[in-house]
């Protein structure tokens, strides 16, 4: 079962390693992990989709909370009360005879064509994990040549997710530039 965690961390070298190392060591399976900046300078936001049961996910949350670099963890769960978005780039066979059929499907899925070559198209699709999987399945008979996905970014619907402000990042940038992520 997929469970979604949102983790706010210091934007510091090595933080991704700490999170990844924790998941490896405790044998928590990561389906996808994305990181990016947030509305607050110095704070990064990770979305983790984990393949695990509810109690293991809860344990992962408690372990994440023990990392010094973690400001907050939200356990969004697996229900439909979250907005979960993934982006896929799909290079698919679409020679002259198949092209119009593929373009129709792109329409249906409200995806975009972002590159056209003689025999192939690159399709960009944003949406829920289920939507992207459905598009991929639909295009498979045409021949998928290349598939890349970003991994999910998630947010709870409704109630705003406020970040506790009292715990500022370390004043100076210890961690140094040399410790790579």
């Amino acid at each position: 079962m997929s469970d979604v965690l949102v983790v706010y961390t210091d934007d510091e070298p090595g933080v991704l390693t700490r999170v990844a190392s924790l998941f490896r060591r405790r044998s928590f399976n990561i389906h996808s992990l994305t990181v990016g900046p947030t509305e607050r300078p110095g704070v990064s936001r990770m979305t983790l989709v984990v393949d695990t049961d509810e109690s293991t996910a809860r344990r992962a949350v408690e372990h994440l909370r023990k990392l010094v670099n973690v400001l907050e963890v939200q356990h969004l769960g697996s229900g439909g009360s979250n907005v979960v978005r993934d982006l896929a780039l799909i290079r698919v066979n679409a020679g002259p005879t198949k092209r119009s059929e593929v373009l129709q499907l792109v329409e249906v899925f409200r995806a975009n064509v972002v590159d056209i070559a003689e025999d192939t198209l690159v399709i960009e699709c944003t949406g829920s994990l289920a939507k992207i999987e459905a598009l991929v399945d639909t295009l498979r008979p045409f021949g998928i040549i290349e598939l890349g996905r970003t991994g999910a970014v998630a947010m709870a619907r409704g109630t705003p997710t406020t970040l506790k402000a009292k715990v500022a990042p370390l004043r100076t940038g210890t961690g140094g530039g040399a410790m790579s992520v």
């Binding site: 390693t17 700490r18 370390l170 100076t172 210890t174 140094g176």
Partner: protein, 576 residues
């Protein structure tokens, strides 16, 4: 800012340590940490030169466990830093607050495989609470202040601060107040939920056969008085984990003794038959639960621990409270009603009587010396008031069974990691923390040979510890498993030892050898009276085993008991 107000990174390191209240560090120098050593002599901090960096961590660990203060280690880059790993893992698993400072190659060389460059922050990621790579002098103070705060706060643990050589050499101003740490506050426990307290009270009120499981967290929280108040008011007997020994007094009438793999049979039976377990500052390690499916099947469970990730991990509980134990109990106590569980205690007492006949201490003298005799005599002669630092193996379990620890912080041992070689260096650290205490090392012939070079550290530092080497000619605990579970094939467990008396002599220390029970007491007295570190080699029965024993993975009530006394008295050998 004038130049006069700046200091080198090296000076800032010592300045920070002094301000954190550190007056002793354990370390070993080398190229990448040399600027720091060079600045050391300007500061009022004692440096203990070890013989191996692993021992420096164990010493700092023993120092911290004996005193409750943060232990500090200093080492150089590369091999100096990697030698710390076992010590850090040991401290991590037993929640000891440490700060380890390592030198690192210059920041310009990082990532180039320069001489003695090792990615020690990468290596120690899973065995520290947190670690830092500091590449600029101005980051030294913030990193160290936070390191101390992280080491001490919540569930304590080791923190490593790796500081490049140029960060030690370049200059920065000291801004102590500006470096006030905050991030360790992020995850301190939320206020205790009153509903959870009410539920716990309800369970305590209803219990007929309650047992307290007393763990290391009692000591870390400083909650002895609160735990005793709870036990006495609600009349609840307590069982102890290995690291819980000393957290509450062993000779108290409510004390049952140690639980788990080598716990006494009546203790494990009490747990299996209990209708309520109050787990206080312990973590249901597999060594204390045995087979989880059959663990305490009749008991409701209340678990209080400061580390939320320990709750509902191995054992699903009815009430889980993530908070400082002392705080929770202080909130709980005023509402705990007085109770009388004398019937339950009487039942346990009967089970206990049944075990006495198998107790090696009560068996007729067969002319052999048993480690149990040595531990019993050591306890008697020191009136149970010594601080014992035990190593890992059979002797560790015999110590736990036969030395009754009443005093707080009176047993120091590597529980979670089971690190052989821990005892001697940890004991030296403990003595430096508590110079007035009588310290005894209890080590096996195997483990003692791992770190006995530290005898010279004791000599150089003028430290007196007393050492009991329990020589059974085997890596005894492993031999016991081979005897019980591998049909007696003793692969790689017979171990030769040097002449320990001559060895002590080579270090300029008094040594004795004891082979008969009648000589045990006098030897112990003589070692105590010596002005220096003193060693006694006890040549004990070679193939004795630790009983009772719950085999790994078996249910707690499925114990292997010491076979009937007559067999033992006849053959004097391992009756397996």
């Amino acid at each position: 800012m004038s130049k006069a107000e700046t200091r080198t990174g090296a000076q800032l390191i010592w300045e920070s340590l002094v301000r954190e209240g550190v007056d002793i560090v354990f370390g070993y120098p080398g190229g990448a940490i040399l600027p720091t050593y060079d600045a050391m002599t300007e500061y009022p901090i004692r440096h203990v030169l070890v013989r191996h960096e692993q021992s420096a961590v164990h010493m700092a660990d023993g120092y911290a466990r004996a005193s409750g203060r943060v232990g500090v280690v200093v080492a150089t880059s590369g091999p100096g830093a990697t030698n710390l790993v076992t010590g850090l893992a040991t401290a991590m698993l037993d929640s000891t607050p440490l700060v380890a400072i390592t030198g690192q190659v210059g920041s310009g060389l990082l990532g180039t495989d320069a001489f003695q460059e090792v990615d020690i922050t990468g290596i120690t990621l899973p065995v520290t609470k947190h670690n830092y790579l500091v590449t600029r002098a101005e980051d030294v103070v913030p990193a160290l202040r936070e390191a101390f705060a992280v080491a001490r706060s919540g569930r304590p643990g080791p923190v490593l601060v790796d500081i490049t050589k140029d960060a030690q050499q370049s200059r920065a101003t000291l801004d102590w107040e500006g470096a006030e740490p905050h991030r360790h506050l992020r995850h301190l426990p939320a206020p205790v939920d009153p509903a959870a307290l009410a539920q716990a009270l309800e369970l305590i009120r209803e219990a007929k056969r309650p047992v307290i499981l007393a763990g290391h967290g009692i000591q870390l929280s400083g909650a002895r008085a609160e735990v005793m108040a709870l036990a006495e008011r609600a009349d609840i007997p307590f069982a102890l984990t290995l690291l819980g020994l000393g957290a509450v007094p062993a000779t108290h009438s409510l004390s049952l003794g140690m639980m788990g793999m080598h716990g006494e049979s009546w203790v494990n039976r009490a747990i299996q038959e209990a209708d309520l377990l109050l787990a206080l500052g312990m973590r249901f390690d597999d060594r204390v639960t045995g087979k989880l499916k059959e663990y305490a099947p009749h008991a409701k469970k209340i678990h209080i621990d400061i580390d939320a990730s320990e709750l509902n991990k191995n054992v699903a509980v009815d009430v889980a409270i993530a908070a400082d134990l002392g705080e929770v109990l202080r909130a709980l106590l005023p509402q705990v009603p007085a109770a009388d569980h004398s019937a339950w205690r009487g039942t346990i007492r009967e089970w206990r009587g049944d075990s006495a006949v198998r107790d090696i201490k009560n068996l007729p003298d067969d002319g052999h010396l048993y480690a149990a005799h040595v531990m019993h005599d050591l306890w008697r002669i020191t009136k149970g008031e010594a601080v014992v630092v035990s190593d890992v193996g059979q002797h560790q379990m015999w110590e736990a069974q036969y030395y009754h620890h009443d005093g707080e912080r009176s047993l120091i041992t590597s529980g979670g990691a089971g690190t052989m070689g821990f005892a001697l260096p940890a004991a030296i650290g403990a003595k430096l923390a508590r110079p007035e205490a009588e310290i005894w090392v209890v080590a096996g012939d195997g483990g003692f040979q791992m770190t006995f070079a530290e005898l010279m550290t004791a000599v150089q530092e003028g430290v007196k510890v007393n050492i009991a080497v329990i020589n059974n000619g085997y890596l005894g605990m492993v031999r016991q498993w081979q005897a019980l579970f591998y049909e007696g094939r003793y692969a790689a467990t017979p171990i030769l030892s040097p002449d320990f008396v001559k060895l002590a002599d080579a270090f300029g220390l008094p040594g004795q050898r004891v082979e008969a029970r009648a000589d045990v007491a006098a030897a112990i007295e003589q070692a105590r009276a010596a002005g220096s570190t003193a060693l006694i080699e006890f040549k004990v029965e070679q193939e004795d085993s630790v009983y009772p024993m719950v085999p790994a993975g078996a249910a707690l009530h499925d114990m292997i008991r010491r076979p009937s006394p007559s067999v033992l008295a006849e053959t004097g050998s391992d009756p397996v």
